[in-house]
Amino acid sequence: MKPIVVKDQVRLGPARCLQLSITGMYYRVTRSAITILILSLAVAFLAYVLFYGILSYDSEYRAYNELKEKRRLGEWTSRLSSADAQPDILAFALTGDAQKAAEYKRWGGFTDEEVTKFGAAVRRVKAYRDYFAGIPTTSRAILIADADPLSIVGKFGTRADIDAFAQRVGKLNLKLPLGSAERLAEFATTDHPFFAEACERIQRGQQAAIAAVDAVRGDTAAARLFAAASPAFLAALQAQGFGMSTDLFQKVSEEARQDMDMQSLGLLFANRDIGARLARQMNVSIDKLATPLLMKWMTTQSRAAFAADLAALEPGTRGLAAARLLMLSDEYRRAGNLQKVVGEKTPARRAGVFSMETRTMWLILVSFLVCLIGITNTMTMSITDRFSEIATMKCLGAMDSFVMLLFVFEAMLQGIVGSVIGVFLGLFLAFLRGMIGYGGLVFESIQLRDLAIISVLSFFTGIVIAGLAAMWPSWTASRLAPMEAMRVE
C-alpha cells in the first residue's frame, strides 16, 4: 500500500484563526452582540453587587466611626460623672478595646493572671447570655419569665438546683446553658461570682478616679474644662488612669469648643432685633428660627459673613468670625449626612469583598447559570447556522483543531469584550447608586485595592463563563462531518 505523505499539511496558526474568527464575528455582528450583551449583563451584575456591597459598607463604616468621634465629648462627660454599669463593662470587654482594657486593669487593680481569668469569665457570661437570647421566646418565658439571665445565676448554686433546671429544660427539648451541667455549675460557682466581683472592683476604682478628677476640676463643668484645654485637667485625667492621650484631649477640646460656640449662637436669637433680621434674610417666621435651621441656611461665605456681622452687634455673645460660622455649619451638615447614612445600624468589623447575603449569592449564581445557558444557546445557534460553512471548510482541508480554535477564539473575544463592558457598567451603576445614597462620602471611602480586586475578579469570571459556554458548541462544531457540506439547504 502506498503511504500518503502529510508532512506539509499546515495547521493554521492562532493569528490566522483569530483573523478568521474576527471576520466571522463581524459578519454576524448581531449574534455576537447578543452574546456580548448577555455576558456583560451577568458580569455587570456581579461587579455591581460586589462593588456596591463594599462601597455601602465602607461608607457606613466610615460614617459610623466619624460620628462616634464626634460624640467623644458626650462620652467623656458621662464617663466623668458615673462609673460604667455592669452591662457596659461586659460590652467593652467583649470589643477587646486595648485602652479600655488598660483602664479596667488599673481601676480593678488586676494582676495579669486576673486579667486572663476575667477575659475567660467574660466569654462564659456572653455564652450564657447568648443561650437565653437564642432559645424561643415562649421557652424563655417558661424558664426565667422576664428576668435578666444574669440575675438568676444564683439559682444554680447547688447540684440539685441544676438537675431541677435540667429537667425543665429537657421538657422543652433544649440543652442546658453552656452545654453541660458541670460547666453550668462551674459557671455559677466560679466564673460568674468572679465576674461580678471584678465588675465591682472596676466600678469602685473608677469612682475613686472620678472623685480624684472632681477634686482637681472643682465646680467647673467638664465640658468647659475640655473647651479651655486645661493642662491641669489633662494631667489629672492621665494620673487617674483614664485612657486619655494628649492627641485625643486636643480633639475632645475642639469638639467642646464647637459645642460651646453652637450654644452661644443660640443666644443670638434671644435678641429680637437680630432674630428678626436673620429670619427675614432666611425667609422664615421668627418663631421658627433655630440653630439647626441657621446651620442649614449658612451654606456660603456671604451668608456666614452676614450672620457674623449680626453676632458682632450683640454684646452678650462672643462674636464668631464668618469663617468659624461657616466651618460650624459645614460640620453640622456633615454630621447630619453621616447620621442619615448610618441610621440605626452599627456596622460590625470591616467586611471583605465577598461578604454578601446568601440570597445575593444565589442571585449571582443563578444569573451566571442563565448567562451560561444563554451563551451556549446563542453559540449553538451560530454553529447550526454555519453547519455548511464548517463542513465546507473541512472539505477544503481544515482540521478539527482549527474549527475548534475558530469558535474558542470567537467565544474568548466575545468574553473579553462582554466582560470589559460588564465591569465598567457594573462599577458605574454601583458608583451611581452609592452617589445617590451616600453623596460625596463614597469618594472618601472608596478603596482602590477593592476596586481592582472586584474588576479583575468580575472580568475573569466573565471570561471563564464565556469559555465554559463555548466548550460544548465548539466541540460539536469540530466534530461535524464534512459530509454535511453536501446537504442542500
Binding site: 500500500m1 502506498k2 503511504p3 500518503i4 502529510v6 506539509d8 499539511q9 499546515v10 493554521l12 490566522r16 471576520t23 466571522g24 463581524y26 459578519y27 454576524r28 455548511s388 460553512e389 463542513a391 465546507t392 471548510m393 473541512k394 472539505c395 477544503l396 482541508g397 481544515a398 482540521m399 478539527d400 482549527f402 462531518a481 464534512p482 459530509m483 457540506a485 453536501m486 442542500v488 439547504e489
Partner: protein, 254 residues
C-alpha cells in the same frame, strides 16, 4: 469489475479511484437499510464520469465514499492506490485539501469572504504564502472568467458566478479529482450550460478527473462515461461514444 473499452493511450489510463465491494448500511439487525449493496468500479485518470440515478438510489452515498467524506461499512475505497480507511484525521484533511476538489449544488461559498478570499482559504490550509495564494487565486478567477469580480462577496454575485468561484476554489490546490454534486442543480439552463463548458475545459486542459453526480442530461453530452446506480448497485456503465445524444433546445434559448 467493470471492463473499460476506453480508447485513450495506455499511459493516461492509469486508475485513480478503485472501489472494492463497497457496502454502506445504516441501522442494525432487522432494521438495517442498505444504501450501497456492493459496488466495484474503476475510475481512470483524466476521465469525466457522470453518475446518474434516481434519488434514493445510493448515488450520494457512493459519492461521499469516493470523496473520502464518509467511511464504508464494508469494502474499500482506494484513491491513488491509498486505502482511505487507513488514513487518520490529519491524512484525511491532507487528502481533501490537496487531492480532491469539491463542488456543491448550493455552492457553499463562505458568505463573509470575497471571491478571492474564498479561493485562497484552501491554499492557506495547504501552507501557500499569501502572495503566492493571491497570484494563484487571480489566475483561477481568470480561468473561470471572473477576474474583475475578485472583491465581490457571494451575495453580490449571481448563482452562475458563485458556482464559477466555487469551481475556482475547488481547483485552488491543483487537485487530481474534482467531485461535483449536481453542479447545475441550482442554476438556470443557460448558466448551467456555461458551468458545464468550464468543467469540460478544466477536464481537457488540466487533465483533472471529474466525477459528477447529476440529473442534468446535457452533462451526458460532455462526459466520457456515465454510470447508472440503482438500489445501491451499478445498473449499467456506458461510454459516451456508444450513445447517441441529441440536444434539443427549450424555447428562446440559443
Amino acid at each position: 469489475m467493470i471492463q473499460s473499452t476506453d480508447k485513450k493511450s495506455p499511459l493516461e489510463k492509469s486508475i485513480i479511484i478503485r472501489t472494492l465491494g463497497l457496502v454502506k448500511s445504516y441501522g442494525m439487525g432487522e432494521a438495517t437499510t442498505f444504501a450501497l449493496r456492493g459496488i466495484d468500479t474503476l475510475i481512470y485518470r483524466g476521465e469525466f464520469i457522470a453518475i446518474l440515478g434516481p434519488s434514493g438510489s445510493g448515488k450520494s452515498t457512493f459519492f461521499n465514499m469516493v470523496g473520502a467524506l464518509d467511511a464504508p461499512t464494508k469494502g474499500r475505497v482506494l484513491i491513488d492506490e491509498v486505502d482511505i480507511a487507513q488514513l487518520n484525521a490529519v491524512e484525511l484533511a491532507f487528502l481533501r485539501c490537496r487531492k480532491i476538489g469539491y463542488i456543491f449544488q448550493s455552492f457553499n461559498l463562505i458568505r463573509y469572504m470575497t471571491a478571492l478570499e474564498n479561493i485562497t482559504v484552501p491554499m492557506s490550509f495547504a501552507g501557500v504564502t499569501p502572495e503566492e495564494a493571491h497570484k494563484r487565486g487571480m489566475d483561477l478567477l481568470e480561468l473561470v472568467g471572473l477576474a474583475d469580480r475578485w472583491s465581490h462577496r457571494p451575495i453580490e454575485m449571481s448563482g452562475g458566478q458563485q458556482q464559477r468561484v466555487a469551481i475556482a476554489r475547488a481547483l485552488s490546490n491543483q487537485p487530481k479529482i474534482l467531485l461535483s454534486d449536481e453542479p447545475t442543480g441550482n442554476l438556470d439552463l443557460k448558466t448551467g450550460g456555461e458551468i458545464l463548458e468550464i468543467m469540460r475545459k478544466i477536464n481537457k486542459e488540466k487533465g483533472v478527473t471529474i466525477i459528477c453526480a447529476t440529473h442534468d442530461l446535457r452533462l451526458l453530452d460532455v462526459c466520457d462515461r456515465m454510470m447508472w446506480i440503482r438500489d445501491g448497485r451499478i445498473n449499467k456503465v456506458e461510454e459516451r461514444a456508444n450513445i447517441s445524444i441529441r440536444l434539443g433546445q427549450i424555447g428562446g434559448a440559443k
